[in-house]
């Protein structure tokens, strides 16, 4: 259960932003998204893998991502998610907001 608490440490709401960001490179399936986030963050950000799926459903509902079934390189059926134009806009808004919050936190933590 210790792992779970580490994973939960992800700031609320950031999972969706991370997913959107991941998808800017190319369409990906759920497993791919989880893997990518883990690798790029050098294992610091471990998504509880299952929780990715409710998040993906929500993103679809909002219309920020779309999905279609396709085959993977090793010839297996998987659902690929891609960013919609609306999702791109949302990502821009969220990352701007994120930068502002991070900047603010940084200023508090390391005052000049």
């Amino acid at each position: 259960m210790r792992e779970a608490s580490a994973k939960d440490a992800l700031l609320p709401g950031t999972l969706e932003m991370l997913v959107l960001k991941t998808l800017t490179r190319a369409p990906l399936h759920g497993y791919g998204i989880a893997q990518y986030i883990r690798q790029v963050s050098e294992d610091v950000l471990q998504v509880e893998e299952g929780s990715l799926y409710p998040a993906l459903q929500r993103l679809q509902l909002k219309g920020w991502v779309a999905s279609e079934w396709a085959t993977t390189e090793n010839n297996r059926r998987a659902r690929y998610y891609r960013l919609t134009p609306l999702g791109r806009k949302q990502l821009a808004a969220e990352s701007a907001n994120f930068d502002r919050v991070i900047g603010a936190i940084a200023r508090v933590m390391k005052p000049a």
Binding site: Y31, G50, S51, Q57
Partner: protein
Amino acid sequence: MQKIVELWRRIVFLRRREQLDRELAEEMRFHLEMKVEENVADGMTPEEAVLAARREFGNQTLLREVSREMWGFTTIETLLQDVRYGARTLRKSPSFTLVAVITLALGVGATTAIFSVVSAVLLRPLPYPEADRLLYVGQLYRSGLAGSGEPKFLFWREQSRSFEALACSSGYGGAGGNLAGGQEAAYVPGRRVSEDFFRVLGIYPALGRAFTHEEDQPGGPGVVILSYRLWQRNFGGDKGLIGKTITLNDRPVTVVGIMPPDFRFGSEVGLFVPMRARPGANVDPNAEVIGRLKPGVSVEQAQAELKVIAEKYREAFPRQMLEGETVGAQPYQDFFTEGVAKYLWIVLGAVCFLLLIACANVANLQLTRAASRRREIAVRLALGAAGGRVARQLLTEGLLLALVGGAAGLLVTLWGTRLLWALIPRGVLPTVTDVTVDWRVLTFAFATAIGTGLLFGSAPALQARKVDVNTALKDSPGRGATARSRLRDLLVVSEVALSLVLLVGAGLLVRTFANLLSVAPGFDPRNVLTFQIDLNGGRYATASKATAFYSDALERIARLPGVESAAVTNKLPLDWQFNMPIFLTAQPDEARSVQFRMISPDYFRVMKIDMRQGRSFSNADNTSAPPVAIVNEAFVQRFFGGQDPFAQQLSVGRGTDDPARQVVGVVADIKQQGLDRPAPPMVFVPLAQVPDKLMATVRTFTSANFVVRTTGEPLGLSQAVKREIAAVDPTLPLSHVSSMEEIGARSVAAQRFNMLLLGLFAALGLALAAVGIYGVMSYAVAQGTREIGIRMALGAQRKNVLWLVAGQGMTLTLIGMAVGIAASFALTRLLKSLLFGVSATDPLTFAGISLLLCLVALIACLIPARRATKVDPLIALRYE
């Protein structure tokens, strides 16, 4: 816009939800497979890899559920699912469902039935338009509001500006009378009303018109307005009756109006005549004044104005106002409900206790079932159901049960309101014409059902949250024989406490009723026929004519076979009261308000009232003999203060023509206002010696009441008696034919009703509590079979086992009783005004009821305890 698109997507997805669900499952499966491959590549064994992948992925079922919920329609969907599932579970255990539904139906039904009465009396407005503007106006003393005399009413009406109209009405002074014409001569109770009476109430005759100003003047033309019922019954609903003349009390009167069918005023008023109030004539000092406030005028404003008017009246007529007297007003509805409101709330409170007991019982039943469903719940939790989801499902099941119980309860209500309406003593609720199940009652029943559902449904739901999957799945329900849940114990304790309170209340009312029945009324009510004849007509205006009629009629009746003796009085015992001012010759300035009776010589013999001293009346006590009177013991005690009663003289009435009368006898006291009230001082005079003026005054308020002592069943003689009266005067109708025993029963009808009602609640409560204790103990025995087996294998005696089990149940009972006794001490005080001859904390009742409850609980404990002793140690240990 964004929202609409989102909604559209939801709808699209809702239609494809099964496909979506499948896709989600496939997607997750793909994810897990990839993960397994990755783990294997990292060097795990295949088994390890699968487990690790699952662990990292999390609760699949839950995640799928969360994903589905994302689409937002799940709430309704799960609700429907829960309802379907709940219905199936309930169907699967029909005996549980039946017991629960019956229990709930009783609780909800009884509560709603009582509420329907509360609603009809307290919540439903009086049956007049804008009834909230109606005020009762009266003389205000420190003791409260009272009726007013007609001259005062005239003054208020002239002076006040707060009212749109002010009206006065009285049931005395020639209000009703003998109505000839139509099918049969009949005595009809009536009401004298002032001209604006119908305007104040806001209801006018349906046919014809209301009274005019001229008709309400002294000496105005004889007119009458009939009630719809009288018009239908005596005149066959003839529309041509308007403008025609009928005979009322031997005088011709013109019918000017017929009231609408649903018009109600008083209990059985059949006709209305103009009041014709005069400033100089205080015909009925207790007449009823009502006013309709002008729009926008508040009750307080009207009260303030009336106070000022009262002082003006005092200035003008200082001798007509008592010290501290003023004029007050209160909403007309309160005037009727004031007396019963508190009582109704008590009854509603009592029935709520019953409802709570029913709730506790069903909660208990559900807990028992939930316990046997622990495994089912554990399995569902293990398969990934969210704890809240399971709790919600159990709650839904509870609500479903409550609604079914509530629906069944409505049937109980329909039947119960009819029963209640039949049992409620007449005249207690004069404004209520019927008790119906209206929207208020339906809403109440629905809310009660939902409330109870939440109450007893939450118990198992709370417990489901605490189910520990591990222990529940490992099975072995065989915890000790002492294993009961704290919640269930609490429920039993409260059931016992609640039913004890109900039982104590019922016990006190039973004792009250028994005390009433053991009161000696001072006369013998058995085998006495009574009836009334109203001699208000012109033919019997003088005392001598009336007296001649009485002695003729009595002589004929007394000769009838089966009749021992017959007499007449102006007021029967146990039937309200009639006072006159009495003046002792020794203190001529001091008026004493005393019960006054004018009787024929045989009255004491017929009623079997004991002569204590002196002599009774005889036929010799007539106009040519010296005037005499007889008083009762209460009178002697109160007014003669140890002096020789036969040395006293008295006269009756203020400013009447009554002579000074010699007291010639003292009779035993008789009960007048009720068996629970002390016998009032009373003066009797011989009818033959009553002068004209005094007789006219007495007749304004009372009729002639005949009493006939029979050898057999009294009512069997009513036809024969009717014939004899007709032989003397065929135009005189008899009314209020009844036996003296019936009148006695009527005087204790309210106490009888209280006793029956609370007794019924208490009996139901006791039965439910017994079932509750029995259920808990049975369950404990079933759960503890193994422990009992071990104990017996180790040499425990049956006796020990019996007391081990029964002792637990009795401990709970005793705790509940302690709580109940404490609560009863606090609550029975509310009953104080309903009790007679027993204190609200009567130790005998408390002890007796406790003993009764103890016995019932003991039986409820012993049955399962005996079952425990029959446990075969071998079987008990092998089983499981």
